[in-house]
Amino acid sequence: MRGSHKTLRLTAGIAAVTLFATACGGDDGSSGSEEQGDTMVVQIGDPQHLLPSNTNESEGAAVLQAVYSTLITYDPETNEPVNLIAESIESEDQTTWTITLKEGWTFHNGEPVNAESFVRSWNYAAYGPNAQLNAHFFDRIQGYEEVAPPDPDGEEGPQQAPEPTAETLSGLRVIDELTFEVTLSAPFASFPIMLGYTAFAPMAEECLADVEACERHPIGNGPFMFAEDSEWIPETQARLELVRFEDYGGEPAKLDRLIFQVYDDIVTAYEDFEAGLVDVVRNVDPSLIEQARQDYPDTFINVPIATMGYLAFPTYDPRYADPRLRHAISMAINRQEIIDAIWNGTYEPATSVASSLVAGHREDACGELCEYNPDEARRLLDEIGGFEGTMELWYNAGAGHDQWMEALGNQIREELGIEFELHGELQFAQFLDRREALEMTGPFRSGWIMDYPSLENFLRPLFGTGASTNDTGYSNPEVDALIDMGDQAATLEESIQYYQQAEDIILQDMPMIPLWNYAEALVYSPEFENVIYNPVEQNLDWAQITVA
């Protein structure tokens, strides 16, 4: 018994020592975070990655847009591309593009931003074994199949994908310090428009040498750079301190410091905003929108963004094969009512398959087919002899889709008398697997975040025969042909005409019902001015912001 007394006291002593020692460590880490100059604190969720080629979600993108600059940017008013690092982007045949850079751009570590830095970055992104999430952006460039060979017999087949036969894209060629040439495998008129996406940002040599270090402490070429001792470590609710990059190639930032604070819970972030501890809440929770709009009428930003919500149909299922049924359901849905109740009216009812931000979007593309018209909906349903059985509505679990899906089902039941069942039990990966395998047994939610502001981006990936995200089994050779013609057209205007014709056919066939155009609900502190939201980049223009 005596022995155990001693041991106990000893262990207790050690525990106490470690406890206090670690506590001191915590203190040290954050000293020196006193206010230094004009500072803005911005809420973000924990990023998945902080590397342009690997960041495909909004939180990482928010940081990257402050840290990296790309060849072009988009005018926040017109959404048109504007050259930034690029001096010019030219092509005779829409296949071979010559990109010339402006002089005087450097990375945060002093390396020059030259042709080589872009080629380096794009090659890294496209190379299959690097497993970069944005690799697909480069699949139009010649030689993509050599660096990321496709599996010869599909995923299910016994053969593995062959090893890449090349490490670099044959379509990328450095001409001189500030010029490089990009050869595509097929003509694509919208290519320059893609280049403002962060995936196309350049990469410093130091970054390529140690990619992991470069994620923790990015080396970019943007208006803000990571402060000396600032480091991103996932899962630590990190506070990322960025300072103005004095040698920035473009118009330098006005703020001295930009701080991204990671929050786990969006409501907590809003409460912190109310308490004055954070200056920008980027995604105000729908439950708080009404209040935010009331309390901050002048600094609440609500603009449509380039993300669309759809209700997709398994057109391969005979019960959903008739377009008239899909039209009936589309007309039974009162989009505005759902938007008002769930998102406080921030979203916009869809009138097209594409977001209102892209050139070639038409307010009346969908017309009556996307308008609430219960009488016509019932008439159509009668015409095809009604709907047998219960309609299963599918969505992925845990992502906040249950309320609007339920409201949607209620409306379908109310207007068309079709009983529905909600199926929200699948995790995202499983939900996507089932969609891709064309095994859905009822209408399912779908969404599309635009990659680059072109009408084409809403057509081919979603509706092209066998296209990457065509999960409805839809196939119409006429549509495919029109999209091809659009890609090869000599001018953007001409290509848009073809795309619009394709869209018209798609809406008549309606494999997916366009539901709504998502919108940003952002609130910032009235202490700041020149807070401009860029809808294409889906971010504030960090460099412009000033203190009032």
Partner: protein
């Protein structure tokens, strides 16, 4: 100490009757004070009569029981309470404040909130009921087997219960429910049962160990009674009292656990309406002037949890002659 092969505090309770140690669970929300049970065997019928008379004199017991009966009637016969269909919603009338037409107002999706609160009782109470039944069943069987047969069965079951008890409750719940996919009443109740059974198993095991060395059990054995008969007739009745107390408290905790699992995204899901689902949809509105969305379901839920725990307490006090 006759049970020397595995000496744990439970096994010492026989000679240690002025203080008794209770096990703890791994779940903070399921913590419940169950001190004072598992003491001496007491199985005379008059004890139950005494306890009943004692309970009738305790106001908390009466109020708790009445409240629980009300909630159970909501769960069993919701049509007694409302004629409105909780699924009959008009999204155009979302988030109306309480009025004479909708006495609890309307929900975020425009459903009558009173009807939802009434119909929400059933899933909440069913989860708790089936969860508790599962815990008592699994824990009871394992506890009796371990305590009665001892040896390797005991060792094996103790290890098993340690593995489960060592797994943090909420983390285990999220892991299991993510796996199961369907978040039905059955799935949640099963997961609660699978994660919490060690609590009852320990109590059961301790009661069995203390009872099996009693003279009357030894006597029954020497008279040639079968194991089954000894367990059913002589040993189980000893363990009933502490188990009832724990079960009552668990019922309450499970009503709350359903809400917490829903908060973590693995609880019941719409269109199922439960108090947990309602509270979760409402919790963000605390700040915004729609406090009623939170107050009604949370009030009903807290009342239910409180009633079960207070009743469990009262039952324990009533069964414990020392505290009279």
């Amino acid at each position: 100490m006759s049970d020397s092969h595995n000496v744990t505090p439970e096994a010492t309770e026989v000679e240690n009757n002025s203080t008794s140690v209770e096990d703890s669970t791994t779940s903070p929300s399921l913590k419940a004070d169950t001190a004072g049970q598992g003491d001496k065997p007491r199985r005379n019928a008059s004890l139950w009569m005494d306890a009943f008379h004692d309970l009738r004199r305790r106001p908390t017991a009466i109020i708790s029981t009445l409240y629980i009966l009300l909630m159970v009637s909501m769960a069993a016969f919701p049509w007694l309470w409302t004629r409105t269909d909780p699924r009959d919603c008009d999204i155009g009338e979302a988030r109306l404040h309480p009025s004479s037409e909708h006495i609890f107002g309307t929900s975020v999706t425009g459903c009558d909130y009173y009807a939802q609160a009434i119909y929400g009782a059933r899933p909440s109470i069913l989860v708790a009921l089936f969860g508790t039944l599962g815990v008592v069943l699994i824990g009871g069987v394992f506890g009796v087997l371990a305590g009665y047969f001892g040896g390797w069965i005991d060792a094996l079951l103790i290890r098993l219960s340690e593995i489960v008890a060592g797994l943090p409750f909420l983390l285990g719940g999220v892991a299991f429910l993510t796996l199961v996919g369907t978040h039905s009443v059955w799935a949640i109740a099963s997961v609660l049962a699978v994660l919490i059974w060690p609590q009852v198993a320990r109590i059961m095991r301790a009661s069995v160990i203390s009872a099996k060395n009693m003279d009357y059990v030894q006597a029954a054995r020497s008279l040639g009674a079968s194991n089954t008969r000894i367990i059913l007739r002589h040993i189980l009745p000893n363990a009933v009292a502490p188990t009832i107390v724990v079960a009552t408290i668990l019922l309450g905790s499970f009503v709350g656990a359903e809400a917490t699992l829903t908060f973590l995204g693995v609880g019941l899901q719409p269109p199922t309406v439960s108090w947990g689902v309602m509270i979760n949809q409402a919790q963000n509105f605390v700040l915004t002037g729609y406090a009623y969305l939170l107050i009604f379901p949370a009030g009903l839920l807290v009342g239910t949890v409180l009633s079960f725990i207070l009743l469990g307490d009262a039952v324990r006090d009533a069964l414990d002659p020392k505290l009279r």
